[in-house]
Each structure stands twice: as C-alpha cells, then as structure tokens.
Symmetry: D2
C-alpha cells in the first residue's frame, strides 16, 4: 500500500482479496502496510488490485506455471523421455546432430551416416524453414520430410524436425520422432496446443527475448494438453552485444533445472553463427549440466544453402563428439545411445 493509503483503503483491499476466495494477511509497518494475498494466482490477478485506491504495487510471489514446475514432479523426480530406446534427461547426454536444412537427398544421407557412425543420439534437419526474408529459401517441405524418412530408415536415428504451421502437423507426424518448435514460434499458442494434443515428444526453443518463465509457460501449453514429453532448448538470447548474433545464456541450464523437471538441451550453433565457437560453447554447455546438444553438421558447409558458416564439418564430427563427451563426464553424464 502507498504510505498515503487510508485505513479505509486497507480494509477495502482486504475485502476485495477475500471476495475471490483468497486470504488477506496485512503487515502494518511504521511507514507502510503490506498485504499478503494467499490464494489462486489467476483469481487474485483478476482483481486488478493495482488500480485500487491506496495500492502502490502488486508483487506476485508464486510461479505462474505448474505442470512444468519442479515442485509438481512426483517425488521430485526429473522427467526422462524415451525415444526409440534412447533416454533423454537424468544422467543421459543426448547428441542431436544434422544439417540446418534438408537441401538434397545426397547431402542429408551423407550427413546422417556420418553422425550415426560417430555415435549421435538423434538426427536433426529442417524441411520447413522460418526465414526472416521472404526472398530466402523456405525449405523443401514435404519432399524434405521424405528424405528425412529415408535417413531414418537407413541409419535408425530418430528424427527431430521443425513444425511451423499447425496445418502441416499431419505431414510432420509421419516422420518426426521429436517435433521442434522454433524460437520465433515459442509463443505461437495454437501451435503449441496442437502439438500438445499429438502426444509426440517436442523440443521447444526459447524465444530470443523470452524469459525462462515464459519458456516454462510455453511448455505448460503442451503439458496441459496431456503431453508430458517436453524438452526445453536454450539457443541464445538477444542482448546489446553485437560481436555475435545472439548471446548463449549458459545460466539457463542450472536455472531451468532448478525451476523445472524437464530436460534442457543447448543449441551451440545459432548464437555464434560461426563454426570456431561451436566447440567451446558445446563444452561449456555439457560441463554446466545440459542434458544434450543440438548441433548443425554439414558435409560441405561452404555450399550450404543457409547458415553455412556455423555448421561443423561432418568429417570433424567424431572428434567433436569425443571432446563433448569428456565435458559431459565432468557433469556426471554419459552419451545416450540405442539400448
């Protein structure tokens, strides 16, 4: 309450709080009175107390998310997701690798075989691509999905691929083992709810200026529909620094694990936008306790249609993975592979 609030203001706020079924606990100090409101967050927010006479400020204490909250988890356990025999979360470290974009059958299959042989846990590749410019290549679409299906058939690796439009959900479901929600769609609520209804595992990328709370609320849209298979992905946020495209928020790893029971994956490719920083960022993420990495790999990045400079060479992938495994070991994790 404001220092100028009258006794009448205070009593009126207390009445209003109790009118929605919550309990009011006033603490009267020399300078100001603080009123605690204990009850359902949504109900209390609808009271619009900020507008009440004498109110200085409303400070929500409880988190707005529930199902994604660590406190919600049964016996405080962390979520471990199984995909074709690979485990994600817990003590398992997942390496999801593949090209930014499915450009051709040849490029895709070459990469898939390279990362499968080196020991990757899953294969990634985009058939639908969100591009800032309408003049840029927008992905191969359904033809891309067919190529991904072939990659899976040949290597046995589960497929991670992005869904941009709820109208494509049927087509994606035929191929994807994990549906990726891109950073730009993190708050596309109809899309999230649609994915929630499929029950399919989903990897949600953090929006480039989304708070961790908003990321957990996006997960909540999926979980609420009854789909428990959600992975959170940190991929870099927007800051004032222009030396890189985005700033990888390494602190998101331990903080998301503190707040939530869901697995946390890191994308080390998009933030720097350049290959030479992918290894140190991957090592940092693994050492900080990430449950996995989703990295871009290409057999010939100079010829890549998009994001070439950040894709690592498929023939260097084996050595890369070995080093990342060493860093994951420092955090007590082992590489996830088919049983």
């Amino acid at each position: 309450m404001k220092p100028t609030a009258t006794e009448e203001d205070i009593l009126s706020v207390i009445d209003r709080i109790e009118s929605c079924g919550a309990k009011a606990h006033p603490s009267r100090g020399e300078e100001v009175t603080v009123i605690g409101a204990v009850g359902d967050r949504e109900h209390v927010q609808r009271l619009n107390l900020e507008q009440h006479a004498g109110v200085e400020q409303v400070v929500p204490i409880l988190k707005p998310y529930k199902l994604s909250s660590r406190q919600f988890a049964a016996h405080g356990e962390r979520t471990v997701i199984e995909i074709d025999g690979r485990l994600i979360g817990g003590d398992h470290f997942s390496m999801i690798a593949g090209p930014c974009t499915v450009e051709s059958r040849d490029q895709t299959l070459t990469t898939a075989h390279a990362v499968a042989e080196a020991g990757a846990s899953m294969f990634r590749g985009g058939a639908y691509k969100p591009r800032s410019s309408p003049y840029s290549f927008q992905g191969l679409g359904q033809e891309g999905l067919r190529i991904l299906a072939e990659a899976k058939a040949q290597t046995g690796l589960p497929i991670v691929t992005e869904l941009m439009d709820a109208r494509d959900v049927e087509a994606i479901l035929e191929v994807a083992d994990v549906i990726q929600v891109g950073a730009r769609n993190m708050q596309n609520y109809p899309l999230l709810a649609e994915i929630g209804r499929t029950g399919k595992p989903v990897l949600i990328k953090r929006g480039l200026s989304s708070t961790l709370e908003e990321l957990l609320m996006a997960a909540e849209y999926v979980l609420k529909e009854g789909n428990p298979n959600v992975m959170l992905c940190e991929r870099g946020i927007r800051t004032f620094e222009t030396a890189y495209r985005f700033t990888l928020d390494i602190m998101a790893i331990p903080m998301l694990k503190e707040l939530s029971h869901l697995p946390v994956i890191v994308d080390p490719s998009h933030a720097p936008g350049r290959r030479d920083m992918v290894l140190p960022l991957s090592l940092a993420a693994a050492a900080a306790g990430a449950d996995g990495i989703i990295v871009e790999v290409h057999p010939n990045p100079e010829e890549a249609i998009c994001d070439g400079p950040q894709q690592i060479y498929s023939d260097a992938f084996g050595a890369y993975l070995e080093q990342v495994e060493r860093a994951a070991a420092v955090a007590g994790k082992v590489l996830s592979a088919a049983a």
Copy 2:
C-alpha cells in the same frame, strides 16, 4: 580480408564473387584489403564468403527489404491507406480506440459508442487473445467477432481485431476492416503470407525484441503477396529496465519514417501497463510524428478481465483525445475522420 590473407586468397574471393554475377571491387590498403561486392544481396549471401580462406568479416551494406523501403515508393511518396473513408498516413492522425478484449456485448457496445462520440477514427477489440498462460482467459472467439460486427453496425467505426491462427482467417475477414498481427506473431511467416493473400489492411505489431529491420521484413512478407495496405506498430521493446513492462521505443517513429513509406502507429498502453502513463506517452508519440495511436479504453477497467490497469476510462476518453490532437498538431497532423 584478414591481414594475413594471401594474394591467392584475395583472387579466389574475387573469382567467387564474380561467379554469382556480382562485381568485385578490391581496395588494397597497407594493413588490409577490403573487397566490395556489388550485386544481388541474396546471391552474394549464398556464397558463404565468411568461410573462405583469408576472409575476416562480411558486412552487408544494402537493406534486405525492398517493397517496404522508402526508396521503393513511387516518386518517394508515403503510403496513405483508406478504410471506409478514413485516411491513414500522410498528414492524417488516426485514433484507434477500444477495449483490450471483447468481454461482453454490453462492455463492447458501451465503449464503442463512447469512443465514436468523442471522435475516434476506428474501433479496436480482441476476440482471440494470445495469453502467456494457458490458464488465462483466451477470448470469446467467434462470439466476440459477432459483437464487434454489432459495434460497427451501430457506430459506423471500422474494426481492428487480431488474427492469431491462419485457420481463423475466414471468420476474421467477415468482420475486420484491419487485421492486427500481434507482437508474438510478428515472425509467424505462414500467417503473414496468408494475410498478404487476403489484400485486407493489416497492422503489424513489432515483436518485443525485433529490430526495425525485422519489422520491415515482416511487412515484406505481406507486401510480396500483393497486399500494399500495411501499417507498422511500435508497442514497446524488451530491455533491462524493470520499472515498466516494456520500453516504448519512441525513436522507432522517425526512423521507420526514414526507412519506409508505410504508416507508423503507436500503442501507448502495453509498454507501461498502467493508465497514468498512457497520456504522456501518447503526447510524445503524436509530437514525434506518429501517424496514429491504438489505445485501450474500458468503461470500467477495475472489472476488466485482462490488462485492466492500463485501460483508460471511456468517460475520460474525450479529454484524452483532445490533448493528443494538440500534440499531433505540433507535428503538423490532423485527426482522421470519415469524409
């Protein structure tokens, strides 16, 4: 090029630039050589020159947007959009007012009559609401659209309302005179393209961490489909400052007018999230040359289902509008009304 680049590196980069039809202009200095590449931006970007031996940095000079660029405008003229006889852009100042959310027939019609009588140019109200929490009220949907249609029938005011899901486009088209794209959907490219194909006027809100360049690229997705009726809307960006919800970027007004021929509208309600700042921000926007304001108004904000604290009272709207008109006059603009 890097200081360590060899003559061979330089010649090879020149070859590569010219291979895509562009022209290479090397400038050789004592310390470094800079190579200008003059040609199609997309073609040059696909060369992935960042990865070429000896290359230090690639700095794009030309803007990636075309149709939204001021240089593109015929005879350098600014876009003026006509909606039911109201003009938006040029010397006209548009006042778009109405509730955050269509909550009920009564609340909506009361507000519509109040703002119509005071002289508003158009009426706003949300039937589909993007909410961070799946537990919050998500809007009345089609029922809300019917109420908006009634508000238009009674007051004659054109309707501005938000489209969140491409699957709702038909329903929205029956009511909306201007389709609003919310900040969270600014980079929902399938939605933008769909709206582009309708030809209907559209107001695109800037994403909360989108650059002006990205906003113009979002406009480009609509313009490219042949729909020239695009308004840009500044509504606050995300910064480190926690004293307000978002930071209204007043500089976007003169800068967007420098970069583009499209009208620029300002939303003074969402950034502060509190009523007492709506007037000073509206005056600032009008004085800085905005082409209009989209503001939230409610007959009884204490009872509003969402964003009550930021909605101004419908019975204070007339006085508010008068003051804003005075500020717009300083920038040489007059209120837009039906002819």
Copy 3:
C-alpha cells in the same frame, strides 16, 4: 518459504527477522507460507535470509532511495532549482544548448551568442571529454574552462560542463554553474560524493544500462552530502536495436516524475547520433513533460572534432527552439529565462 519448508524453518526465519529489530508477519497458505518483514531495508538485507533453510526467495518491497523519493519531498512538492535567476523544474522548461566539445574560442563564442539570442536558458560545452578510445581528442581541459568563462561573461548564460575526475573539482567549480556527471560516471561514487560536498547544482546522466532505481541511488549519493540541487538526465539506454546508437527511454520522464521530486532533463542528441532525429525526439520529450532539454549545437558541424553528425546548426537553433516551446506548452510548461 519453499513448499518443503518445515515449521522449524519458519520459526527460525521469524526469529532472525526480529533479531534485527524488524517485525515478521507470516501468512500461511495451503501451498506456501510467505513471511513479511517490516523494518529497515539495510538491516533486513544484512540478514542474508536467502541463505536460510527453507527460504525460496527474498522480495524487497520498499524502495532503497529516500532523499530522492517523491514521498520524501516536503508537502509532496517538486524540487525547483534556481540558477542565476533561471528556474528549473515545476512549470519551467529549460533549454540547455551548446557544442559537444569546446574546440576553440571562436567556435564556442559563436555558438554561445547564437543560442543566447535565440533564447536558450543555459550554455553547455565539454572541456574534459570521456572518449572510448585513448587515441581520440580528450578535450581542451583548463583552456576549455577559460573559454567557457568567457562565453558566460559575454552572454550571461549559466554554464553546464562535465567533471570526470575528482581531482579536477576545484578547477571546474570556478566556471561551472551546473556540474555534469556523464553516463559513464553515473556509478563513480567517490566523484558523486565529492560533488555532493560542493553544494553546486549537478546534472546526472543516466548510465547506459542503469535502471531508474540506480539513477535515483546515484542522486542519493549527492543528496546525502547535503546538496539538494540535483537534476536527472535521460540520454538513451543500450538495447538490442542497432538502428541507433542508444534507445531514448521516453518512459523515464513520467516514471521519474512519479518516483522522485527531482527535475528531469532529456538529451536528444546522443541516442540517435544524427541530426535529423533531434527535433522529433525533442518534441516527444517536451510533450511527455520533461523539465528541459540539453542539446548539442555547432556553428559548423561538418568540421566538429567529435559527434558532428548529431549537432544541430547554430543558425537553425532559433526555429528548433520555437517548435520545442510549442510541444512544451502542450505539457503545460513555459521556457525558463532570466528574471
């Protein structure tokens, strides 16, 4: 408290709060218990309650500043500062104009006469310049101060000039009517305290990533030493947007006036870094209720040693000032001049 906190944890926290003389007010809900602590903010913070068993989060409610707070002001009045007969604050609008840097006697006196004739309230000019690069011009120093003294002698305008180093305070005091603290020194506490002890009016520029709370805490360092003559200055903050150098935070004007009784000045030159945006930003600031503007003016900006592109032409200053006065009038203010 955490949902897992025991009764013992709760009682122990209550004990600890009361051990420092504050009062504890527990509110017990179904899920969690919230304990209000009412007492001296500094004392409670020293308890390190975040570390106590069972504590989830410590949320400070009271503001950390006192003397700069609006609640502190006698009878809720706003501070009005008098400088050589000019009034700053209240209904008065101050126009502080002059070159970025004192480059020469001729350039300085020419500008001073131009802005004096047009009706400026005070004259600004830098003798000591903080420059990001040690290779850039660092100001004329004491020679610059002498030229400023001459400008004052000839025009009668009070002088605003920057102090960067506490060791220069004596020299500055001989000339300055207002000491400017630059954005980079906003948290240079020894410097602020030194200025506090002089009693001289001071204009404190907000650091480029300082919150409004931090700005008010910087003011507090001066006020605490017994110097009440503090002006706050918004000059643009650092955000992700690269279309301009800094993002002018127009919302700081109404918000600082809500939080504090101190006058608020706006610098429209540094954020855009370009002349064509200075007028619209000045109009916006004046319309939003700023108590004044500090703007850069040069007789020949193409030849300026620093920040040429943002300085307005001294021969265009009169027309500029006239338009700004019109915008200030919308906010109910009149230009401040010598009595």
Copy 4:
C-alpha cells in the same frame, strides 16, 4: 552513398577522403555506389562523412583497438603474465579466491588459509567497495589493506584488490599484486590511465553493458601507458532476463581470445548472486577455455556483510577446486601455482 547521390556528391566525398591522407576506392553498382576509404581510422572519422551530401551510411571496418588486438601480438603469441612465480594465460589456469569484502582480520585470514591450502593461485578481497547505496557498508579502506597485507605475509598468496579512486592509488600499490578495476569503473578513463602508469598487473572487469570492443578499448587505455599486464574479466552483462542478477556471457571467452592476446578470467559469483549456480558456471567457464576464475569464498556466508548468498563456503572450496580443475583439463589447461 544514397541511390540519389549525384556524380558531384561522389567526387566530393572522394576528394574529402583523400584530403586526410587516406585512399578512396569507389565501387559503382547499378543501384548504389560504395566508396572504400583506406587509411587511419581516427583521421577518417574526423571527416564526419555521415554529414556529407549523398552519403547514406559510414561503416567502419577496422577495429579501433590496436595494442590489445591479437594481430598486434608479436609472432601471434598470447600474453602470459607472471605474478610472484604464478603464470596467468597460455596453458595455465588461475584460481583467484577470497571474500567479497574484507570484513575483519579473522574472517580474512581464515579464508586466506583455507584457499591457500586447497591450492588457490591468488587471494582476492575488497577493501574499497563500490555500493549502489550510500547507506551500505563501503569497505574497511586502509584498515582492510593492512589485513590483506597480513594475509599475504601468512600464506604467500598474491593479492587482488579493487581500486575505485585514483587518489587511493599509492595506498593500493603497497599491497596489491593485481589491481582490480570494477565493472562500474570500466570506462573511468582517468583511473585506467593512472593504473597504466603504475605498470602493476590489472584485472579489468567488463562493464555490465559494455561491448567486448569497449572492454578492449578500456584495456587499450592501460596498455597505451606502457603497462602490458592486463587481464580481461567477464562477470555478467545486463539483459532482459530477471531470473538472475546478470547474464554471464560465456561466449565472451572464445571471442575475446579470438580478438585479443590478453588472458581472460571469469567471475562466476556476481551474475547468479547465488551459491548453487557458482559450480556449474565455473565448470562451463573452465571448459570453454577461460584462463582463470575469480570466485568469492567466505568461512560463514550467512554472516557476510555483503553478497553472502553468492559466496561459497571456505570448507567446501577444496572439493570445488578439484572439479573445476577437471573441467579446465578438458580445455587443455593446468592449475597455476607458485614455481
């Protein structure tokens, strides 16, 4: 140049560039002409070309720093600094540990012995403390320096301590082996130059919204005075995320090593402001290739005068250091100790 620039504009810009001794290289395209200017950056910037008729934009290509640049380093070697037999940089990993603040002789000596026995490379502790609030404890000052001297005498560990005011430089020099420049003083140029003149090793913390380029320019102020012993320190930047105090920029490690030859140290304590995140962030920093860590340690953090929640327990320091060494080993580094 703008598309509307005339041939005369172009020739005039070329003349102007060559007037300062630089060379102009025009590249004429169909739409626009780009003019490369090759010469001294400072000279070209003083031309104020942005203001010239027909000029659209000036894009600096060369970096503004020289002595801190990796290209400047003799034979491309990295700087390794020796302090009392400990090596900083190269393959050496330095662990700088100690309390936030020197609170008492007992607390300081206890901590110093604990970290010395566990194998720390140097001892840190603040005698002068920059505090946002003038009402907070400001450090023990000279008494604190005396206690630090005793800690060194007893343990042999070199001392790292902060200098806030150029007037205290003599006192600091008697005790400090490394002078720390705090984040708030990163752009306090008189202070940096003063430290440059001492020749003493210095650790410069990155300002909380300083770019890497600005950090290197701060280093340049020290290097230019002939002091080559500069360490750069990443300690978290300010972003929109409110889940932590600051966001640790892990990417700064590989990027600073790409741009500069100077050692890079990471402070994992201030960004989270909480103890449980110090270990994962330390592991991440070490794995990403940092040259060392500066961490806060306290024998009894619950009683700490400031920043208690982020200080790790001195009796847990040994186990902490062991894990960090394992992460540093992944990046090929070994702990630095006295020869």
